[in-house]
């Protein structure tokens, strides 16, 4: 099992890599499209701004490479900003096109009674599905488990059926999505202690 963790200068990857390795995967950090060749799975982590991230991905030719790989059916996990980049656009960086693999946009928390960034531990409510395979990442997980969030924007997918987990922070937003070979999680599994590690393990074991 070889996992490519994409490094585009946005946030640290040590914890993600270490977690993957602890579950027996070979996890390589790569900043080049070539690094995706031969990988069984791709993880796109990331913190920071949407526009800057897209700019970096395009500059090193990774935007196109990621799209191709996903089209070919590779198992893909976007974490935090890495999940948001899958969508068409974000309120954070107007005029910047996202990867556009999923339909929808990224919005900012508007309610001024809440503190932004949404920072800390919050729960995920698992959307029940009769299709077992849609909840594979949440296998062996309790509903309302705490995970660690750190973000000011959240995704609004056009197709609501891809939402597999939601979180309440003034608004009920999509904190976990799954569509075919594509997974996205808004929280940080690598910072969510046992629960987060379980999710990464589930992804690695797919």
């Amino acid at each position: 099992m070889k996992i490519a963790i994409i490094d585009y200068g946005m946030g640290n990857l040590a914890s993600v890599q270490k977690a993957c390795v602890s579950f027996g995967a070979k996890a390589e950090i790569t900043a080049h499209p070539r690094g995706l060749e031969g990988a069984d799975k791709i993880i796109l982590p990331g913190v920071g701004a949407f526009g800057e991230a897209m700019h970096q991905l395009e500059r090193i030719g990774l935007a196109g490479a990621i799209k191709n790989k996903i089209r070919e059916g590779i198992l893909f996990l976007g974490i935090c900003l890495g999940m948001q980049l899958l969508f068409e656009r974000s309120q954070e960086s107007r005029g910047v096109k996202g990867l556009g693999i999923l339909k929808g946009k990224v919005a900012r928390f508007q309610d001024n009674r809440i503190k932004v960034p949404h920072m800390g531990w919050n729960t995920i409510e698992i959307r029940k599905s009769k299709f077992e395979n849609r909840n594979v990442l949440l296998k062996n997980m309790r509903d309302d488990s705490y995970v660690y969030f750190c973000h000011s924007y959240y995704v609004e997918p056009k197709d609501k059926t891809i939402v597999r987990g939601t979180t309440d922070y003034g608004v009920k937003f999509a904190s976990l999505i799954a569509k075919d070979n594509i997974f996205g999680i808004q929280f940080h599994p690598e910072k969510s202690q046992m629960v987060g590690l379980k999710i990464l393990e589930n992804f690695i074991n797919l």
Partner: protein
């Protein structure tokens, strides 16, 4: 619902955990990575490392500590102390810190907050504020209440830098607002009056700031009893409460604090 966070703070000097009582006397409390792992298992929601004497040589040791910590624990941690500019922030983030806290450098050059938050994202830029009550009579600002016309004395706190040694003349509440406006993702607020006293967090100071900024505030300084945690969340609206010696010397455990808070209906991660 978003849980209130309990954060142990590890003061680090030359790669070892120490705790300064009132910023002065230091006692050794162990190896940072071991301590971090211990708190991770105990249920800490986050960790803060404060490098209290950041000389150039010790900086390398700190980066090594950060690297080892990132490899060993799976909860977020913040690193601060002696951060001078963008380059220091980048190094710490690259070594594996989730957030970097800036204090003196931010006061000296507020633009650093803007630059850093644009470059790395607001979520990883914490502005640490050490504040102390101003006692001189002129400092008490009288504000007219719009409804009654009565004048209400309002307390004022001054920002200190260089590890609490240098007063700046800055008003802590105004500074917090400015930091938030410049892009800080969080404020780590230490009351110098309460720090080390174990008489409770500075509720007035904390409330004054949580009311004025729309970013999370970590209250620090003064925790000594279970009730102190409850009050800072319920009465001062802190997003997180930080403590050091209390946890290091096992006067209270994080588990105890969380169980207590839960029994008082404060949302915590257990």
């Amino acid at each position: 619902m978003l849980a209130k966070r309990i954060i142990p703070c590890l003061d680090v000097k030359a790669g070892r955990v120490v705790k300064g009582i009132k910023f002065k006397k230091l006692r050794d409390a162990g190896d940072p990575v071991e301590t971090a792992r211990f708190y991770d298992n105990e249920g800490a929601d986050e960790l803060v490392f404060l490098d209290i004497t950041a000389s150039f040589e010790q900086r390398k040791i700190l980066l090594e500590v950060v690297r080892k910590t990132a490899e060993n624990i799976y909860i977020p941690f913040t690193v601060g102390g002696g951060v001078r500019g963008i380059d220091d922030i980048r190094k710490l983030l690259n070594a594996g810190a989730d957030k970097v806290s800036i204090n003196t450098a931010a006061v000296k050059s507020p633009e650093l907050i803007r630059q850093a938050s644009q470059r790395f994202g607001s979520q990883c830029i914490v502005v640490a504020i050490d504040a102390k009550l101003v006692h001189s009579p002129q400092s008490v600002v009288h504000r007219k209440l719009p409804t009654t016309g009565y004048r209400l004395p309002t307390k004022k706190w001054e920002v200190y830098i260089n590890g609490g040694h240098t007063p700046t003349g800055l008003d802590a509440v105004k500074w917090a607002k400015k930091a938030a406006r410049l892009g800080a993702g969080e404020i780590l607020l230490t009351s110098m009056d309460c720090d080390g006293t174990k008489n409770g967090y500075d509720l007035e100071l904390t409330r004054a700031i949580t009311k004025m900024v729309n970013i999370p505030v970590i209250a620090s300084g003064g925790a000594g009893k279970l009730a102190h945690f409850y009050r800072v969340f319920r009465e001062a609206d802190a997003s997180a409460a930080l403590a050091a010696s209390l946890f290091h010397y096992k006067e209270l455990s994080i588990k105890e604090v969380k169980r207590y808070l839960k029994s008082k209906r404060i949302e915590v991660r257990i």
